[in-house]
Each structure stands twice: as C-alpha cells, then as structure tokens.
C-alpha cells in the first residue's frame, strides 16, 4: 500500500502523556481522543491535522505509559503513518496490535512541517524531497500478526483452532 501525506514534525522522547494527556482518559471514545491528540506537544495539532497526514519524530516515540489510547488517538485523528528514529516498546507493540502503520526511519532532521512524504508500506520505502529512505524491516512473526489484520484477528484464528480441538 502506498500513501502520501503532509508531515508534522515532532522531537525526541514524545511521551504518551503528550500524545494523549491522562486527563482525557476518563472516557474511551475515539472522537474524544482525536480532539485531544498530541495536545501537550502541540495544542493546535488536532485542529490542523487532515486525513492521511504523517507524523515524523525523533527517537523513542511513545515512551511512558502503556495506554493504547495513544496510538488509537493518532489513528483516529486520521494520521496514516508514524515515522520515527525509534519507538518505545509498548507503543510499538500497541501500534502493531491496533493496525497503526509505523516505520523506523531517521527523518526528523530531513523534513519540515508541511513537506509531502510518500510511504510504501509493503516495501518500507519513504520518499520525501526527492530522497528515498529504507525503513527497518519488521520481523516475520510481526508481519504475520499485521497481515492477519492485527492481534485480535490473529488470536481469533488461534481460538477457532482451540475450539476445534476441544
């Protein structure tokens, strides 16, 4: 799958409290999360972001809490892909589990807000300002989860197999 979107650039160590502050975790509702997405990192993000836009960040994106509300808020805001130097472990796992595309590429210093980036998710290739970058490949085990359509679909298969053996 290929997608093109406008870039929003963030720095390093963007934590989950910045992505979705805990004061909004009293309600699990995608519209509610979307309205406050990235609020403590950039209070104007939620109103400026458009369907298909791309977040580009430095190292350790999504550090901190395990709240799945963080990748869910980003996905609900319409962001098509998050590209970072690296991701914090739980955020990485959550993004895969919920089907938010993420790629590890060091792009933060090479782009500015508003640049257009094209991402080939299948091949892990990112194109921006006439340059091409290759993302870190996902391990095959994770590809299997992603190709199943996320963890829930993957586990559904496992449950069905289990019931047949009961």
């Amino acid at each position: 799958m290929k997608l093109t979107g406008r870039v929003f650039v963030f720095g390093s160590d963007i934590d989950t409290d910045a992505i979705i502050p805990a004061r909004y975790l009293n309600k699990f509702d995608l519209d509610h999360l979307k309205a406050h997405c990235m609020e403590d990192a950039d209070p104007t993000f939620a109103e400026r972001v458009k369907l298909g836009d791309v977040i580009v960040a430095g190292k350790n994106f999504g550090c901190g809490s395990s709240r799945e509300h963080a990748p869910l808020a980003i996905k609900a805001a319409g962001v098509s892909c998050v590209i970072a130097d690296s991701f914090a472990r739980i955020f990485y796992r959550n993004a895969i589990n919920i089907g938010l595309p993420i790629l590890e590429v060091s792009l933060e210093k090479k782009v500015k807000d508003g640049d257009l980036v094209t991402v080939d998710l299948d091949r892990g290739i990112v194109e921006v300002n006439g340059e091409k970058f290759q993302a870190q490949a996902f391990p095959p085990e994770l590809m299997e989860i992603m190709q199943s359509g996320g963890l829930i679909e993957y586990v559904k298969k496992e449950l069905e197999v289990g019931e047949e053996n009961d």
């Binding site: 160590d13 934590d15 409290d17 910045a18 502050p21 805990a22 004061r23 975790l25 009293n26 309600k27 699990f28 609020e39 403590d40 990192a41 190292k59 350790n60 550090c63 901190g64 809490s65 395990s66 709240r67 799945e68 509300h69 990748p71 869910l72 690296s86 914090a88 472990r89 739980i90 796992r93 959550n94 589990n97 919920i98 391990p139 085990e141 989860i145 996320g150 963890l151 829930i152 586990v155 559904k156 496992e158 449950l159 289990g162």
Partner: protein, 420 residues
Amino acid sequence: MAQTLAEKILASHSDRESVKPGDFVMAKLDLVLGNDITAPVAIKEFRRLGAKKVFDIDKVALICDHFTPNKDILAAEQVKFVREFAREHDITHFYDVGDMGIEHCLIPEKGLAEPGFLIIGADSHTCTYGALGSFATGVGSTDMAAAMAIGKAWFRVPHTQRFNFTGKLKPYVSGKDLIIFTIGKIGVDGARYQAMEFGGEVISALSVEARLTMANMAIEAGAKAGLFAADSKTVEYLKKAGQTVSELYPDQDASYYKIHDFDVSNLEPQVAFPHLPENAKSVREAKGIKVDQVVVGSCTNGRIEDLREAAEVLKGRKVNKNVRMIVIPGTQRIYLQAIEEGLVQTFVEAGAAVSTPTCGPCLGGHMGILASGEVSLSTTNRNFVGRMGHPQSFVYLSGPYVAAASAVAGEIVHPEEVLS
C-alpha cells in the same frame, strides 16, 4: 546454555530448554492484569474476539486504582463497566474501593507475583514485580484482551543489560536514588526493548521494598522488564504474603548485552528534573528550588517503608506553610499499618493530607493537580510535560526522605539539613 533471569523465565513458559535474544516465543502467562483505564478498552476487544470466558478466573486481576474513588461521572462509568465484566466472569481478583490498592503495591501483597512467574499487565509499571524475580512487563489493552482469552502472549526474547552496584550506600540513599541515578546514566531509552538485571552487594543489602521501587522504574529507561534475583530476602518477604517460594538466580556465566559496574558509595540522594526521568542530579544541585506541592505515594514509593521514611522526617515538624503535602498509602493494608505505627498521626499533625489509595495525582488524574507554573516534588515515576496537571507545571522526582524534608523546608533540600 547459561541464561539470564529473563531468558530462564521466557524459556520455562514456552516449553523450551533455552531461548536466546531475538527468539520469538508464544508463552504461557501466570497473571494478566489491567486497571480502570486500560481494562475497559481490553474488555471491548475481548468481546470483539468472540471469547466466551477468560482463560482462568484466578489469573486475571482487575484493579480499579487510577481515577478511583471515582473522580467524575465518566470515570465512574469506566469503573462500572469493569465491575460488571468482573461479576459476569466471576473474576477472583477484582479490587474496588475499600479493598482496592495501587495495583503494583497490591499484587505482591496478595501473593500474585512470585519468582519465575511470567506476568503481563495493561499498565507500563507492571515491571515492578521484577523485584520478586518475575518477568513482568507492560502491554496495551489489545494484548491484555488476547491474553485474557488464551492465557498466552508473544514475546521477542530481549537482550539483558546487567547492572552491578558495589560499595555502601550513604544515609538517606535508597532504591529510588539508585534507579534515578541509573536512568540518568543510560537515558530514557537506554534499555529500550531490553531487560535490565540488577545485582551486586548493594542490591543484596537492599530491602525488597526498595527493589520494588527500582524495578518499577525500569520502564523509564525504556526496558521491557527489570529483574532481581530472588534471594533469601525475597523468600522471607513473600512468606508474609503466604507464599512458599524458592530462590531464583541467573546462571553465573549468562551472557549480557552490556554490563555496568557502579560504585555507589559516594552517591547523594537523587532528584530527576523536569521533564524527563533521565535528568538526574544530586539533591545538592536542586537546592533552593521552591515547591508548591509534595506527594509521597504511588506504585513507586507508596509502601510502608516509604511512609516510615517520610514520617521519620516529619515527626515533630511541620509542613511549610507554602507547601501542600499529600501522602497516599499504596494499599488498604499499608494504610492500616501506617495508622497502627502512628505514621498517619505524624502526617496529619505535620499538616499533610492523607488519602485513601489511588494513583490519582501521579498521572494528573485527581487528588493533587498542579496549576500553571506550579512545582511539585513527588516520589512518583514520571515528570513529563503536563504529567501532574497543567502543561506549564513542573515535576521533580525523588525518594521519600528528600520529598518529606523538602516539604518542611519549602524548597528542595538534602534530608540532613532538616534532620540534623
């Protein structure tokens, strides 16, 4: 093959002789937990899975600790949702107001974590149980949902970094100072995707409660788990929770990604400056920073030993008139013990507010939210932008001695300045 603690536990739960870093395993779980924020999302996903029952009603723990006692109507609805699910599935370990405690203080107290266990929790500080020799790690709600259904989760076996602490700790220096110091050395992503394993003579001499504080903050270095060998102290500690367990050690010639040797004989009490836990400095460098609020509590430092340290400082003294001090025992049992030992009386007489157990202010939920420009010194675990309230507030992290002394002084001070 010689293995680290992390490798041993992951191998034993995936029916393998041994595993090596990078291996993928589908492993059986001893405990799956969630709280009032993460469990509602997990329950929705569990239903979407079409699962009819949880894999084991004794191995799922649902603890409503974050926004409880319910801070507002929306929070009340979330807790209600979890409560109804717990009743419907006859969950043994569901804890609500009255017997609820902060999950990572409560689980060890209930005897639900032990050496060699494999635990996941939809809460990043699940790594706390590494102090007891469990491989315990935080996950999201979807992982929790799948695990509640099948009792298994996938893991990529992490590399392990070994941290050896030698020397003898100075007065007022404990687990919190060691872990803030360590995060300061390696950074907030210094152990990303990896396990941290702590050892050395300083760790052997350290109480289990101080080890719980250290393991709790392994996630603040990006780690998947923070493990300690289960030694005679661990065995004794768990005996109090009614458990009979064996000691557990890594193999002597296990191979580590990196080995750090720290002589901590001269280590001063540590303070992490805003807005990252890696901004570690000696308390002396923080001297003179005025504080508006001091919080003693949380899954990091809400245990009885922490309250004793704070009370030792506050006994016969008063909280500075410019400071709001909030003390939050981690569980009902800790609360009761603090009452029996006279600690609560000390806190109240000193002018501190004492609350029922809750995560509350640590994550800016309730019970001590900061206004713009305000400064809190807190024994909690994170000092991110907006963590305890307004995005323009400031959080400093320390252990209970420094926190209590600073509450008395009205500014960050070394405990000896108040106690001498």
